[in-house]
């Protein structure tokens, strides 16, 4: 019988079981397990629409316990009105999930990213293709399109100049704004600011990043123990999906990135470079009066209540909106 782990000690047991299977565990996830003689023999976890942490005790394999757990998971998800799911799993389980109707999107050699259910990545991207063609009144195959993926937390003059410089190199530029809400500014705030700031650029289209690009929800932090190795594998899957689906289906010839100074972002850029090769171009960051403009700089001024100084680093067109958002945030964060 499948049970849900509700007690802390049950979750601790699952953590140990997963550890013995070389997997990590996140206590926030909904975890399900099967016991035999009061010992865990199989587990699976859910985090939103993401299925992960599947492990079966070596003595109980070949009995389709995975099918039982996955059926349970799919029933729970459909009760929550979720009919599209993503899977993070070790590469060795790819065949198992494939036999359950899941489709492989990317495999780094260590970990794999798969999808199942109703939505298909191709459909999502083809939807974007239509949107791009309708917006600009073009056929994408006849034009040179570039792309850039930004978080913009918040939008700065640095971002603007980077996007302006990238847009100048192509007929059209597609800007993807990261949808995952893990930043100081919410996705809606970030998207609105980017949209507003880029309005003057006629050959630029701003789109949501979907679940498939730099989505923190699809890069769970459970399957490899070392942080660096884990980040590395996540980033690799992200780069592979972008290369395999977004670039060919949207006819994107080049992805641009700004040079980075933070170690994680430097590593991410390097992985993108390794994966995309010549289709990745790094553009140096812009400075203003000798100061390199970055979103972290703007946030620091905001937290120090030096809003006017913070706003001096962002495009004029978004200053009134950003000011209002910042003031609201500072009111909320006051002790």
């Amino acid at each position: 019988m499948i049970k849900q782990a509700l007690l802390a000690e049950e979750k601790e047991q699952i953590r140990l079981f997963l550890l013995s299977n070389d997997l990590g565990f996140d206590f926030h996830d909904d975890a399900y397990f099967i016991e035999e003689d009061e010992k865990i023999i199989a587990t699976l976890s859910l985090d939103g629409h993401i299925i992960k942490g599947l492990a079966i005790d070596v003595h109980y394999r070949g009995m389709n316990i995975a099918g039982e757990l996955l059926s349970h998971a799919i029933a729970i998800l459909s009760n929550r009105n979720l009919y599209s799911y993503h899977v993070f799993t070790k590469s060795i389980y790819v065949d198992l999930f494939t036999s359950m109707g899941f489709r492989l999107l990317a495999d780094s050699g260590k970990v794999a990213f798969m999808e199942g259910g109703v939505d298909k990545i191709e459909d999502v991207i083809l939807g974007y293709q239509k949107r791009i063609e309708n917006t600009f009144g073009i056929k994408i195959k006849d034009n040179d399109l570039g792309t850039i993926v930004v978080n913009c937390n918040p939008m700065t003059l640095g971002h603007y100049q980077l996007i302006e410089a990238s847009a100048a190199k192509h007929d059209f530029l597609i800007v993807f704004v990261v949808e995952t809400d893990e930043s100081t500014f919410t996705y809606k705030e970030r998207f609105s600011l980017v949209y507003l700031a880029l309005k003057p650029l006629n050959n630029v289209l701003v789109l949501p990043s979907t679940n498939y690009i730099v989505s923190k929800s699809t890069f769970p932090s459970y399957f490899l123990k070392a942080l660096d190795e884990r980040e590395y594998e996540h980033a690799k899957l992200d780069a592979l999906i972008f290369k395999k689906y977004f670039m060919p289906l949207l006819n994107l010839s080049m992805r641009h990135v700004g040079t980075e100074s933070e170690p994680v972002m430097v590593a991410y850029n390097q992985i993108l470079k390794d994966t995309l090769g010549e289709k990745l171009q790094e553009i140096p960051r812009f400075s203003q009066n000798g100061v390199v403009i970055s979103a972290s700089l703007v946030r620091r001024f905001m937290y120090e209540h030096r809003i006017e100084e913070a706003l001096s680093f962002v495009p004029h067109s978004i200053r009134p909106l950003l000011k209002a958002i910042m003031e609201e945030k500072n009111v909320r964060t006051k002790p």
Partner: protein
């Protein structure tokens, strides 16, 4: 979007997902694909015919279900699709 689902991925069962469509589209993946793929498609098609449904998208993940299991799962999935979205 109207979606309905029934069944499971356990042995001798099938997981059937149906959703709205403007045409009939049947997708079957089975552990006995080599032997029974066409027959499963046929069971689904005739069940749809009997229910007078001429536009639907059906995805069937089969784990060795018998014909009447597939038929029952399909009809339940269609029923759930209609009920949930009434």
């Amino acid at each position: 979007m109207k979606i309905g689902m029934a069944g499971s991925l356990e042995s001798n069962d099938a997981l059937i997902t149906v959703k709205e469509s403007s045409v009939i589209n049947i997708e079957v993946q089975s552990i006995v694909d080599a032997f029974y793929h066409d027959q499963i498609v046929q069971v689904i098609q005739s069940t749809l015919d009997a229910a007078r449904i001429n536009a639907i998208d059906v995805v069937c993940l089969d784990k060795g279900a018998l014909d009447y299991t597939i038929k029952a799962r399909l009809l339940t999935a269609i029923h759930r699709m209609e009920v949930r979205h009434e």
